[in-house]
Symmetry: C2
Subunit: 323 residues, 2 copies
């Protein structure tokens, strides 16, 4: 068993139900999307987002079983995430994700846009039918943040003067908002206090930031086999992440390479080398560790349980991916 799956053991059965539901939901309704759905919901994904929702649901429901609405929320979370990946891959013209061909490259732009729209539409509908206006608002905020984040990422490509704040802001929009708001929503469905709900939001927010910063580090330190895409892919596409921003402070030449968008043949390799030879990766790791520890502090309110422990371990797991 991989660390990720043993981490999820309190909700392993829940995650199996979720996987089956998701495939059925999309595939059965539209044969044309069946292949895309099979592809989307089978391969690669670690299902970290629905796992967090389910763990928070169990942790906040104490001994009682979780409700159908908790399950629906977890499904909605994964649907929104998947819809946004499918459209991002078209927009970014990515052919590979997690080592697997993307929907638009395997099928067509047409199918990818339709599948994404259908998933967004489906998730709005399930969301409305949770019959909880506060939860509807939280998750519709997420859908807006995701669109916003993708637009911001496009705007700042190859812009070497962006601040760490701008990067963190974009990272919140693209990754942490979904985890933060769905964590809070899971608590609200269990009837926790507004204060506890805010702590759950802060847990998700900080865990999401740590998670994405780690992902951004792995773009440099991992092998292309593990990544399922070439090393330095983000950098190549002009997506300037924490390790790069920290490295700028030590390596002025890195800015030159970025600003000319790696126009010369050795530019990208040179840039990766400069980043690896700087304190950028170490400092990014410290930033991730900081957010992971803040995340855990926000679980103090939650009564001890196997699921709460898994949520704490999740923070370690996120960092452990770096070793």
């Amino acid at each position: 068993m991989t660390p990720a799956t043993s981490l999820f053991s309190p909700v392993e059965t829940d995650l199996q139900i979720l996987a089956d539901n998701l495939k059925e939901l999309v595939g059965n309704r539209h044969p044309i999307l069946k292949a895309a759905a099979e592809h989307l919901f089978s391969a690669g994904g670690k299902r970290i987002r629905p796992a967090i929702v389910l763990l928070i649901s169990r942790a906040t429901m104490k001994d009682k079983d979780i409700t159908l609405r908790h399950r629906r929320l977890a499904e909605i979370t994964e649907m929104i995430h998947t819809a946004s990946l499918v459209h991002d891959d078209v927009v970014d013209e990515s052919d590979i994700r997690r080592g697997v061909s993307t929907v638009h490259s395997l099928f067509s732009n047409r199918i990818a846009i339709l599948a994404g729209d259908f998933l967004f539409a489906q998730s709005s509908w399930y969301l409305a039918n949770l019959d909880n206006l506060e939860v509807v608002k939280l998750l519709s905020e997420v859908i807006m943040d995701l669109a916003d984040g993708e637009i911001q990422q496009g705007l700042h490509r190859f812009n070497s003067s962006i601040s760490l704040e701008t990067y963190l802001n974009k990272t919140y929009y693209k990754t942490a908002s979904l985890i933060a708001n769905s964590s809070k929503a899971a608590g609200l469905l269990s009837g926790v206090s507004q204060e506890t709900a805010e702590h759950l939001y802060a847990y998700g927010r900080n865990l999401g930031l740590a998670f994405q910063i780690v992902d951004d580090i792995l773009d440099f330190t991992s092998s292309s086999d593990t990544l399922g895409k070439p090393v330095g892919s983000d950098l190549k596409s002009g997506n300037l992440t924490a390790p790069v921003l920290f490295a700028f402070e030590e390596q002025p030449y890195l800015e030159v390479l970025v600003e000319r968008e790696f126009a010369q043949s050795e530019d990208l390799d040179r840039a990766i080398e400069l980043i690896k030879n700087s304190q950028g990766i170490k400092r990014a790791r410290e930033l991730a560790a900081y957010h992971a520890s803040v995340a855990v502090e926000h679980l103090q309110d939650i009564p001890p349980s196997e699921s709460r422990q898994a949520l704490i371990n999740m923070a370690d797991y996120v960092l452990s991916r770096l070793y």
Copy 2:
């Protein structure tokens, strides 16, 4: 003044406010989308959907002024409609709509997908903030229907054995659902009874069907100048509409031409001729007139007012586009 605008006179000022709001909403937030927004919300559109919402709002509020929520609903309606057009144009690879270049052809697929996603996201968010769960459900149903309709349209391309029922079903999903559900929602925001709300739904449903059937007839009877695209565009792309389905009953050779997807050089012109020489257009017109008259019957509940009269006239206007 064109018939459409004089028809809207009770809500003319409201529509001006709406147009300004929509442009600001999208354009100001994202410079990258500013040009697309300017393009989307300036050109061509007759704003029939928000006009209906505003007219129903005024008709059901009697003498009182309409609320900010009624205005928001009208804006949401136009945003959802526009988002779906932008994505449909990418999916269908249409370069021209209403005589104006489409977003993806003018900018890029990238911008078109992002702009559509942003509009859908924005509309979900405004929707949630109307603070009315029933309205949220109605409109999220619409978003699902639109995705569904586009998928169905793709599935049935060049399929000469589709029934009139399948066509009407697809037409409901792609056009009438938005008008029907937003009409009902406008009434609900005014606090009408559940029974009146159902009548408003039926008004919108039938008006929407009539509207689309007329649009489908115009694809054959109008000039390419008026259409802003070549005559027979729907047919060419395999979208088989009411005039075609009726014509099949008289012209068996039409089926041959459709089934071979107009592979030979004269096929499309030949098919258009066969349709024009059949009762197809006349019967489609009768079908549209039927739905327009059913629409008007459902306004009996609404107290007389200038806005109610405009809603009745709308049914005539829809048909008058044929002459």
